[in-house]
Every structure is written in C-alpha cells, then in structure tokens.
Symmetry: C2
Subunit: 382 residues, 2 copies
C-alpha cells in the first residue's frame, strides 16, 4: 500500500515509517521539522541525539535496502501538500503533523496561535487534498483521549447513544478537553466529521493516550535509527519524564494530588494500532473512532512503578507532590472503553518491570545529556 | 457601558451599533469590510445601496448628535485588535466578525480556508485580547442554531444532562452542523468553552437562527442608515431572498422537499436579544448559551407565507421545488427550546402579514436593482 506519513520526523512518525516500510508498504514521509525547531527554540532538545530525516532514511536503506520517500516542507502550504498528493497518490494517509504539546500550547499567545493555525490548517489541507487527488484514500488521524476530558460517566469509543425525553439519537461523544492543544484536536474531529458526512471520506480517528517508550522492533537494527526522546515538561510524556527524573535524582514531579488517571500505551502499540487501522480501513462515509491505549494508571501509580523499578537497579527514587500548574481534576471517575483495536487483533505490550527496566537502562546510557534545569518549568494553565 | 462591536459594518453589526448608541451606550465598531469585499468579488452586492461605515457614522451623528468610534482593520491581526482593546477598554464585546455565509464556505477550497482562518483567528484574538486588556469584560458571541443541526431529539439551550449506565454528567449539547461555516461556529464554541473554564471569562453565546428584515427603530431616521440587504444565494438569508424573488417574478427556490425547519427571527429581535444579553451579563467562568429565534417554520411554510403576502399586493408568486444543492435532511424532527431570552424579557416581533408586507414594499422600491442572474447559483455541498 502507498502510505503517506505526515509528521514523519516526530516521536511517533519516524518509528511508524520504519515499521510500515519493514512490513513492505511503499512509504513517503513529510515534515517541516516544526517540533524540532520548537524544541530548539524552547531549549529542550531530545535526550539522545537524533539524525535528520534524510540521514535516517539513508541509514534505513543501508540496513534494509528499502526506500522511504522524503518531502520536506510545510503541509499548511497548499502548493506543497498538493504536489505530494499528486505525485505520490497515497492510498492511506497517517496524519501526525500537529504541534503535539499541551504545555507548549499554554505558554503564551503566539504558541496558542501557532497550535491553532498549524493543527487546523494541516487537517483542512489533508481533507482538501484527499478530496482533490485521492478521494478513496483512508485518512488515519491521530486524535487524543484528552478530547474527552474526565467526565463523570463512562467514556465510550467515540460515539454515544442518548435517550432524551423519550426519543433517541447517536452523537459524537461530547468532548471537553484539558488544554488548548487538546481543544485543537476536538476541532480537528469537528472538521473531519463534517467532511466525512459531506464528501464520504474514509477516516479513522485514533483517540490516543499518552505514549511511553523508545524501542520499536525496527530501531534494534541501529541505535542511530531511534526516535527522539523528550524528557522536559513541554514535549516529554509523563512516564518518559519520570524515568529521566529517576535517573537524574530529580524528585518525580507529581502535580497536586496525583489522582489524575489516563490511558497509556507503549510506543510499540502505537505502531500496531496504526498498522491494524490501515489493514482494516474505514468505509467511505465512515468516521471510525478507536480509543487507543492499553492500560489506565493514575500519576501516583506511575510514580510508584518508576520508584520500584528504580529500586531494582539500585536507584533511590523520590516522589514529590508539587503545586499543580495545570487546571484539572486531581481526583475523578475514569472508565474509558477500548475494545475496538483489541477486536482488530491488538496484543498489548503492557507496562511491565522489564519494560520499565529497559527504558531506565536506555536513559542511564544517556545520563550525561540530562540537563536538570530543563526538566521542570511550571508552565501555568491559568 | 463601553461596547465594542466587532464586524460593525455587517447586516447585523451596523443596526446593533445604532441601537446601542441610541440607548446611550458608548459604542465603537471595528470592521475590515470583509463581507462587502466578498460580495463584490462574487458579484452579489446589496439590493439597496449602502454607505461606508465612516459615512454612516457621520450621518448618525448629524441626526442624533451621538458619536460612534470607528476602527477599520483586520481583527485577525493582533496588533490591530490589541490597539483597539487597549485604547477603548471595552466593558462588553459583541463579536459578529465572521465570514457569515454557509454557501460561500462551500464554494471552493480557498473560501473554506478563508472561513476557517478568519472565524477562528478572530475568536482566538478576542479571547487573548480580553485576557490581556479587560479580563472582566463580557463577550457576547454570535453563534448559530445551525451548530446543533437537526437531531432526532429535542434541542436544549446549549447544554444537556446525560444519564448513562447509571451515572450523570452535564455536557455542551452535541453539535453537528450542516456546512463548513456552521462547523467553524462549533469550533468557536469549543474554543470559548475551553478558555471560559481556564480563565474565568464571561461569555454569552447566542445560537441564532436565520434573521429576516431590514427595518430597525433607528433606521427610520434616514433611509441612508439602513443596513445592507442581500438577496443572492450566498449572503442572503432565505426569507429576504424569497421576498426579492417574489417581487422579481422569480419562482421561489425551495430546495428539495422543503420540509427543512429552522428557528427564525426579525432583525429587530437580534438587536433586542443582544441588548438583553448585555444588560444581564454572564458571570465570570460562565458560558451562557441562549437559542436566539422566535418562531420555527419549514421552508415550505415560509414560501407559502410569501406567496399569500404577495397576493395581498397583487403579486402572483410561483413556488418551485428544485433539486437540493445542499446535503441535508429535507424532512426531520425539530423541537428546539428557546426560553432563556424570553425569561430576560424578550417580546418577539413575529412574522405577521404586516411585517412581510413592509419588507415587500421595501423591495418594490428597489426592484430596479434586482439582477435576476444573481439570485440562484446552485453552490453544491458535495
């Protein structure tokens, strides 16, 4: 299958490119290094050094003989995205090309505006490009579990049947997010759902939880093929950050009471979920939504797991409940459904002591690169 | 009260400015003539000639002695909007500054992109400007009943209580719109609701139905103070269009079966609803939502009313069911609540034969300006 990966330089984009290339798909990646540029601007670069996309693609070819097509440019520019679609004629598009950080989106007005313009602009361009150049292509869009927020009722898989005053209707599950970044993902969903209905597009929207980990099957060929690994407050996901804090002797920063509960998954399962979605595409006129995570944990539970994994490696890990810079519920009901991807055959990689130990060993190898002052910044929500 | 009207040159913006100025408020208007420019570009200008904002403001002062502050520029540019907020220090903002046409938003990719960028960009700038310069100011935002679409259950006033698997939660009423334009209004709601929760903004979101009419109390001073009146498919609302079609001897263009039902209101009631919202502001941290219409009609009912009003003036009005260029339900359940504004004291101006007759007489006076080829264009939704 010809698969176009938008945001192919990112934490998930590059491992996805290798994974699908290894599976025999014809892969093209597009990126403008937005995330890397923001990381450099905010002085929070990856823990492990990370080759540019051209270099990684050459290295991938040296090891596997497989070609990945590269397109460097801004997908928010119509001329650029139109040229890619026209030339590559994708059968599927994996859309990761968004500013991916909640705290970054809350930093200042310019960061919020960049997030809105980039995320919605690219999603709109993807819709128009599919309509114009490949109307039957399957769009696999990365959404987020954060779109739902933390409601007091069960979170269903994208949709909810409502009975109201004796009548019934099926709706998109109501969304109410916890950051501007997450709100742009809701707006993406609005946009996709509208054009699915109007233009019979085929869309799978993956409501993904926070991802952890760095190793994927394909990265084992050469350590230089590893994806970037953020450990700072802006771009690092919570478990990756906690592992680095544990190794650095920096008390784990639990925000407030630490009862905040989310659905997590290993980066290997992101690749599996995306691949399963590709292999079992949505129908024309269908917005198919999966809740993409494998286990739920509270922040306190994650901190406890990191602490005990540290103990096994002889590291004494301190946990510190600090004032919550975010505005969010610190204790809440959380029961999200997530059977769709399991039904497609997902076999989860759970958060075992072994998985934690491997991540910790990876971080130990790069401990010289950890800059303590980059770990916590306290970006305030209000 | 110092009231800043964004989109003060528009169909509703200018009459609102006169109305609030007449009531003794200190009024400033901002506009970049976007709607007029689009109307000229698409060759669908107002039925009646319309002075520019500076001219109308001078005329208003001649007649009433009252000053209206004018700011010409693009509210999507931060420097412009920041300067206005800083200098005028509004206590309330009425936000009409959006590309307001559903068919225009469906014309072509560039029109869709303009609608997304303008509508969301201005709404975001309003939020950031209020946060920075006047955090206690009341934002009165014009939304649309079209955000709800036509669900099979009663439409509540902005919010819905859901009981699901034995637990309860209150949500924004699920939204599912019928055009890209309406979808940008949903995205506005997402954005406002997020920052209301984070920053304790005070917001009233008015879910308005299609407006009809041209006369408002203030316009009676001088016919040159009348607002613009669109009769084309792009910018004209359905009843205004039907009146012009009746006068022009152009069969009323009922799309499909004509069972499409919406909530309508007289332009006088738009002004009353906005004024009542200003006089009874939302609290800090409150997104207050009103469904702003006074009566519901199907398109067939509207066409019938125009036909019989025509008969009284000796005009023979033909009705023609044409192929629906839109993708929408032509027969559906529709029961939207609308008690909030009545509770604040709204006394509706209903669609009487007199009201229809006055509109028809106005159009008769300008019948020489009607260009038949501008009436219907058949902009397709899919």
């Amino acid at each position: 299958m010809r698969v176009l990966i938008l945001g192919g330089d990112g934490y998930l984009g590059w491992p996805t490119a290798m994974h699908l290339s290894a599976q025999g798909h014809e892969v093209a990646v597009a990126d403008n290094y937005l995330r890397r540029n923001l990381m450099r601007e905010e002085d929070v670069e990856s823990l492990s050094p990370c080759l540019n996309l051209n270099e990684r693609i050459r290295l991938w070819k040296e090891h596997t003989g497989k070609e990945i097509v590269i397109c460097i440019g801004d997908l928010n520019h119509w001329d650029f995205i139109a040229r890619i679609f026209k030339e590559f004629q994708p059968e599927a598009i994996i859309h990761y090309a968004e500013q991916p950080s909640a705290p970054y989106s809350m930093l200042r007005r310019e960061a919020a505006t960049l997030t809105i313009n980039n995320n919605l602009g690219v999603t709109a361009n993807v819709i128009f490009a599919v309509r114009e150049f490949c109307p039957d292509a399957h769009i696999v869009k990365l959404g987020t579990m954060g779109e739902y927020g933390t409601p007091n009722i069960d979170i269903e898989e994208g949709w909810i049947d409502i009975e109201h005053k004796g009548r019934k209707e099926k709706f998109l599950y109501p969304r109410q997010a916890g950051s501007l970044y997450h709100t742009t993902k809701i707006m993406d969903t609005d946009l996709l759902w509208y054009y699915v209905r109007m233009w019979d597009l085929r869309v799978t929207d993956l409501m993904q939880g926070p991802v952890y980990g760095i190793f994927t099957g394909e990265s084992e060929v050469d350590a230089s093929l590893l994806t970037l690994f953020s450990y700072d407050e802006l771009f690092g996901t919570v478990l990756n950050r906690f592992i680095v804090q544990a190794v650095a002797g920096y008390p784990l920063t639990v925000y407030g009471k630490g009862g905040q509960t989310r659905g997590y998954l290993n980066i290997k399962d992101t690749l599996n979920c995306v691949r399963l979605s590709l292999e079992n595409p949505a129908r024309n006129g269908e917005l198919r939504i999966f809740n993409q995570f494998t286990e739920t944990f509270s922040v306190n539970e994650l901190a406890g797991k990191v602490q005990s994994a540290g103990k096994q490696l002889g590291i004494d890990v301190e946990i510190k409940n600090i004032e919550n810079p975010r505005k969010e519920l610190e204790e809440h009901y959380y029961n999200p459904q997530h059977t769709g991807l399991l039904d497609l055959g997902l076999s989860p990689n759970l958060l075992t002591d072994t998985a934690l130990g491997q991540m910790m060993e990876f971080v130990l190898r790069h401990r010289a690169n950890i800059a303590q002052h980059k770990i916590f910044r306290g970006t305030k929500w209000a």
